[in-house]
């Protein structure tokens, strides 16, 4: 396909899954109306969900999931060594995700609770960036296909990759929603990076921060606002921990 008379270079990508639900990978194969166009920008050399090819020659590695086993560390290190650009895709890869809840409990209790008699080898959950260098984060649970599309287009034409720096409230207000905080709920929209179109508050559910922190987010102020509205500390903490997206950044 030509763009302004020039044949753009197709991007060779590999998609790899670690500990996660494969929901982000599934997103890549979603949005059928533009799927063919999307795929025509890529040369998919390694993606279990749509192709049986498994070449080790790729420019961009899209990595889904967090790291929770020793063999995953080896596999990830190997991918990093081959990829020119490594992209952490989705909340699990970027922040640990829901899997990170596991780290709140002793490992042996977790294994017993989940696997019963058939114990498995597992370790504490790590973000991709805890193990290897990450070049780009695409946050979200799951990632938004439109955002992935626009990032790939930017890479193909050599434009700057743009992900909003401001919080979800902007998109929420643009949807002319009633603020769910005014409805008595907890919402992390004011500290969470926009880009999802504020889907949760548009559906009258508080944002849980799956896209991670907005830039220069004001955690202290949001905590105080929520406390003043009568939400208790543990309730607020629970929401902040949901995706582990605010770990280490939320001063009291």
């Amino acid at each position: 396909m030509k763009y302004l008379g020039i044949d753009p270079q197709k991007v060779k990508i590999g998609v790899f899954d670690f500990t996660g639900c494969e929901g982000c990978e599934l997103q890549l194969a979603n949005k059928e109306e533009s799927l063919l166009e999307f795929l025509s920008l890529l040369e998919v050399v390694n993606f279990r969900e749509i192709s049986s090819d498994s070449s080790q020659d790729y420019d961009i590695a899209l990595v889904e999931g967090s790291i929770s086993r020793k063999d995953e560390i080896e596999r990830l290190t190997d991918i990093r060594a081959r990829a020119k650009v490594l992209v952490a895709m989705g909340a699990c890869a970027c922040f640990g995700g829901v899997n990170y809840l596991k780290n709140q409990y002793p490992l042996k209790d977790v294994v017993k609770e989940v696997y019963g008699m058939h114990s498995v080898e597992t370790s504490k959950v790590k973000r991709i960036a805890d193990v290897v260098k990450v070049d780009l984060n695409i946050p979200g649970c799951p990632v938004s296909k439109s955002e992935v599309e626009s990032i790939i287009v930017s890479i193909v034409v050599g434009a700057e990759v743009k992900i909003p720096k401001y919080p979800v409230c902007v998109e929420c207000k643009q949807n002319v929603n009633t603020c769910v905080v005014d409805l008595g709920k907890i919402c992390l929209g004011p500290i969470t990076r926009a880009g999802c179109g504020a889907v949760c508050p548009t559906g009258k559910a508080g944002c849980l921060g799956c896209r991670g922190p907005a830039e220069d987010a004001n955690y202290g102020s949001l905590r105080e606002i929520l406390r003043e509205k009568g939400h208790c500390e543990s309730e607020i903490e629970q929401k902040l921990c949901f995706y582990n997206a605010f770990n280490g950044s939320t001063e009291k």
Binding site: G5, S34, E149, S150, V153, V156, P167, V181, D216, A217
Partner: protein
């Protein structure tokens, strides 16, 4: 201007007639807050009774019917050796019923900038010209301070304005379109009695204001207090969430986004509503941010609203609707911030 009176029943028939012929928007209750207060927004309506004209004030302003949150400025189509640009201003005629004085005065301020300013916007002009705007007076909610800024009454910027004098509305007709529309409607000349009722109504509304902001000398107070600790006090609370600017009837800042469609056969240039409170508003190529601190960003929004910019002849652009104050989760509102500054001075 021409004045008439119309019974509320006849008015309802008139509006239903307009609704039948045009896409129409009016105030509707959309939610109830945890504290019991009703939340209203301008929504599309298909009959008069769907509206609640006794509403207090809408949460978001009518601004975004004229400056949409996202608007395509031009569309490009690519072929192998060429490209084509398409620009579309057309909007279908539509009606907005029940705008408050502050809403209309805010549009009059935007008109100054976007219709008669140095860089008129054909997109704005098209939307403005094709919207039949019906305004309505009301008893001010307790936190409105439009009176302090002289925006509690309105003289321009609307097609038709209705003042409630009991059984009837006292109509101010401000466009030939409105005059023609009213031709087949039973609306009479106001009598002496109607005039007296109107004067009483206006007096009552004027006396109902509870909230006040001291604006005398505010522009020089702002100049003097540029480095005041008041900015840090409020800035520390600010979430830089942009909610204030999104709901404000006069905030008009925007960004331009260019998007190449995934098929690489077309692209779009869009105007997106932005806010000076957002973290990267003053970030320039190379990454430098001219307003790195929360307090800087908050301060500049106040400067634009109360000190004015050259673009709008150094006039304040706030109309005193307090939408920003109501939307702000952090409790930042013009009344308290300005009173803090005045005390500093």
């Amino acid at each position: 201007m021409i004045y008439k009176v119309i019974t509320k029943n006849e008015f309802k028939k008139f509006i239903n007639g307009l609704i039948g012929e045009n896409q129409t928007f009016g105030p509707k209750q959309v939610d109830r807050r945890a504290d019991g207060k009703a939340v209203y927004q301008f929504m599309e309506v298909s009959s008069f009774d769907e509206m609640d004209l006794n509403y207090t004030v809408t949460y978001s302003s009518v601004k975004n019917f004229f400056l949409p949150f996202k608007e395509e400025l031009s569309h490009f189509k690519f072929s192998d050796n060429d490209w084509e640009q398409a620009v579309e201003y057309r909007v279908n005629p539509r009606v907005i019923v029940g705008a408050r004085p502050c809403d209309i005065n805010a549009l009059a301020i935007l008109d100054k900038i976007l219709m008669r300013g140095a860089f008129p916007s054909p997109y704005y002009i098209a939307r403005r010209k094709n919207t039949f705007l019906i305004g309505m007076d009301h008893e001010p909610p307790e936190d409105c301070f439009c009176k302090s800024l002289g925006h509690d009454t309105v003289h321009r910027g609307f097609n038709l304005f209705c003042e409630d004098i009991g059984e009837q509305y006292y109509l101010t007709i401000n466009s030939s379109k409105a005059f023609v529309f009213l031709k087949n409607v039973k609306a009479g000349k106001p009598t002496k009695k109607d005039d007296v009722k109107l004067i009483e109504r206006r007096k009552l509304l004027r006396e109902s204001f509870q909230a006040r902001v001291e604006v005398a000398g505010l522009s020089s107070v702002l100049d003097i207090e540029f480095k005041s600790p008041v900015w840090k006090k409020w800035g520390d609370k600010c979430l830089n969430c942009g909610s204030c600017a999104m709901v404000c009837p006069t905030c008009y800042c925007y960004g331009i986004e260019e998007t190449i469609d995934v098929g690489m056969k077309s692209s779009r240039k869009e105007r997106v509503q932005y806010s000076c409170n957002l973290v990267d508003f003053a970030q320039v190529a190379g990454g430098h941010n001219f307003r790195p601190l929360k307090e800087d960003r908050l301060k500049y929004r106040f400067y634009h609203h109360y000190r004015g910019f050259a673009e709008n002849a150094d006039d304040p652009i706030c109309v005193g609707c307090n939408r920003c104050g109501r939307a702000c989760l952090a409790g930042i509102n013009p009344r308290e911030v300005i009173s803090d500054l005045q005390m500093e001075g």
